[in-house]
Assembly symmetry: C2
């Protein structure tokens, strides 16, 4: 079993000796991880957004399933914005993430709270509630991007 | 609300008119999405793997939380391996994904089944059960990568 785990860790490009308090060995690992979580979140929020905007047929079950994924993903990126993860691979993190860390933390918590409302609305199956909650989530995305996401990717 | 949603969709780089049956407008969107889901999954499986291997202290609550994320992510990548998504951005998908689609589907279903066992084991909080289940997941990762993942990224 151990050899399979080791083999899997190797092929997955994972560290085989992760310290408990540092889930990413290199800054680029943290950047790739947070970008990945946000990519998955944006995709599934987009599916709900399409329903909320009437661009896709409303499917209550699909909306609820997508909201669970959005909700799960919303909690993940923040731990990967540790000190020293501004560089390592191209990314759009502004320096303000670290220089105004309290505001960034508040923005992330606002988003998590809005996503929790969306998850509750989606579980209710009520399209009007979903529309209202999706607007809140969208606003929190935009506010954080306006303050903390650069227009262009960094060179490294 | 609609304007906020539209703004959020724009800043997130999302399509504002997603057809219900095509969640990705361009092949690169599908490639980026599936790579992202697999990146998040590998990271959280790695955290459980580190505990299973004794490289990190066993934390039953953390293992269970990580297993939920692994379980959620395990279901996502496959829909994004549609026809025509072999190119669009650098990726490691082998042609066999499409030429031997039945085998690829079976490999993905094997992984989902092994991940479900890991989730159940993690919920039980029993480290030996987690070790056994993690070995099964690791084996399913490796088997699929051996057959369907190229050594190097494609040029586009």
């Amino acid at each position: 079993m151990k050899s399979l785990l080791l083999a899997a860790a190797t092929v997955a490009g994972l560290a085989t000796a992760l310290p408990a308090a540092a889930q990413w060995q290199k800054p680029e690992d943290a950047i790739k991880y947070r970008q990945s979580a946000l990519t998955v979140m944006a995709n599934h929020f987009g599916r709900i957004g399409a329903m909320a905007q009437g661009k896709a047929p409303f499917d209550a079950k699909a909306a609820a399933e997508n909201a669970v994924i959005v909700s799960d993903m919303a909690k993940l990126p923040w731990a990967a914005f540790g000190p020293g993860t501004d560089k390592g691979m191209p990314n759009r993190a502004k320096a303000e993430i670290w220089s105004d860390a309290a505001k960034f933390k508040a923005a992330s918590e606002k988003m998590i709270a809005e996503v929790a409302k969306l998850d509750a609305a989606a579980k209710s199956g009520n399209l009007d509630a979903i529309k209202a909650a999706a607007g809140g989530v969208g606003g929190s995305c935009k506010a954080c991007h306006d303050d903390f996401r650069a227009e262009k990717y960094s060179a490294n």
